[in-house]
């Protein structure tokens, strides 16, 4: 297993990521209507909500993949709105898309080594393979020949190498068997111990509850509620109403 790295953070206690009045558009369609939330260093925060609420779009807007966006996204004090995705990645945010984005023309090894190192302190290749041992035997396979769970591990594993300590994960458990979901949950807890900050988009509320410190509820392009993990039990019914489960 991996050794726990010392948790050193600038501006501990203040928000690492502050999203204010974030609006976003797909072509002419206005999808985000003023998203507000904070993420503090070392936290795992989920964005919960129904399909089409704007959770994925929020991650894409933060990452700069959504080209038409307004408002403010401050990361470690630096304004990211207006920067291209590559500059946001270089600022230290790593993104794992919902569709996983494994490249079929690349081997597993090439997929793993693709994202460039943006700063020191990332996991080594062996660290990643220590966390996801299934990948080790498949390094020479074509990336998309992996099972869904292995592809998800590869998609998470490859961004851990870059040195970015702030991860945006879009539905990492979608469509996966329960045993794999558990393994990914354990991985996220390990990453939290190692000082990673994680914003997680989830439909699977039970999974979210097992890993996150706080939950933001997104509906129709706005954050409509915030629930800490401690308050979760008392708010189950309210949440079920939000999520329509």
């Amino acid at each position: 297993m991996v050794e726990a790295a010392p948790l050193i953070r600038p501006e501990a206690g203040t928000a690492e990521l502050a999203v204010r009045d974030l609006h976003g558009w797909y072509d002419e369609s206005h999808v985000l209507h003023g998203i507000n939330f904070d993420v503090r260093p070392g936290e795992v925060v989920t964005l919960l909500g129904r399909n089409g609420a704007g959770k994925t779009t929020t991650l894409k807007a933060i990452m700069g993949i959504l080209s038409k966006r307004t408002g403010s996204v401050r990361f470690m004090g630096r304004e990211l709105i207006g920067l291209p995705a590559r500059a946001i990645a270089r600022a230290g945010i790593a993104f794992c898309p919902e569709e996983r984005g494994i490249f079929s023309s690349l081997s597993v090894e090439e997929n793993l080594m693709l994202p460039p190192t943006i700063r020191d302190g990332g996991l080594s290749r062996d660290d990643v393979l220590g966390i996801f041992p299934n990948l080790r035997e498949r390094l020479q396979s074509q990336g998309t020949k992996l099972s869904g769970g292995e592809q998800q591990m590869l998609a998470i594993g490859r961004i851990l190498r870059t040195g970015a300590k702030f991860l945006l994960l879009d539905e990492p458990t979608e469509g996966l068997a329960p045993v794999i979901v558990q393994q990914i949950g354990a991985t996220l807890r390990t990453l939290k111990q190692r000082g990673f900050t994680i914003v997680l988009v989830e439909q699977n509320f039970h999974f979210a509850a097992s890993v996150a410190d706080r939950h933001y509820v997104v509906e129709q392009g706005r954050v409509i509620d915030e629930i800490s993990d401690a308050e979760l039990a008392a708010n189950t019914e309210k949440l079920h109403a939000y999520l329509g489960v």
Binding site: M63, P84, R86, S105, P116, I118
Partner: protein, 295 residues
Amino acid sequence: MFELLGIPPQALFGQLLLGLINGSFYALLSLGLAVIFGLLNIINFAHGAQYMMGAFLAWMLMTYFGIGYWWALLLVPIAVGASGVVIERLMISRLYHLDHLYGLLLTFGLALIIQGLFRNQYGVSGLPYTIPAELSGGTNLGFMFLPNYRGWVVLASLVVCLGTWFTIEKTKLGAYLRAATENPTLVGAFGINVPRMITLTYGFGVGLAALAGVLAAPIYSVNPNMGADLIIVVFAVVVIGGMGSILGAIVTGFGLGIIEGLTRVFYPEGSAVVIFVIMALVLLVKPAGLFGRTV
């Protein structure tokens, strides 16, 4: 010596060699087109004109500055490639959000302009470019006489093609290129400067065309239409090999050159159309091309 179906071996090997030479140019040119199409999704109709520019630039270096073949082989691809970089930055990059057809129209227009400028300046009669002294003469292989320069062209083309294939399929740089071909947005979100990669890729593809032009200068006469004549066949080669397939471009380029040569031996009347007949057949059976990814 043996005789095959009543064909004297000298004629057979002679046409095989000619086919191999033509194949060398088909391969180099379709390789550049494939690299460009893979990443830019643009059919570079200016490719023939850029090949012609390569031959002309070699001729100009020699005629006006006394700079010989070997330096031209290095300098011309860089210079013409740089012109490609400028064209991509100033013009092609503005078209990516539009239908692919616009890129085709733009590069076709550029090709006409470039050819027109050279025709205006130098006419169409063709200018001579002498074979470098090191490669003049020939070698007797026993079964045939091989002009040294032609052997060199085949060898150089093979080395450049395989080098390009290796770089794209086996190196880290190539992994970036393949990944950006599949999903440029995600590659950008990893912190890689995809627009710059696209620009340099276009420059590289154009540089390959110019390199082919320098190699061609001592064999074919240097004239403004040399690219336009060749590029139609090269497009057929690209279609047969499969759009965007690197290995497909190389194998099909050499293969069709040889098939064309053999046709000239056994059925000379068909040699001008054989490639297009094969193209039609391949399109009927395998529309994505022999090596193409089915989309």
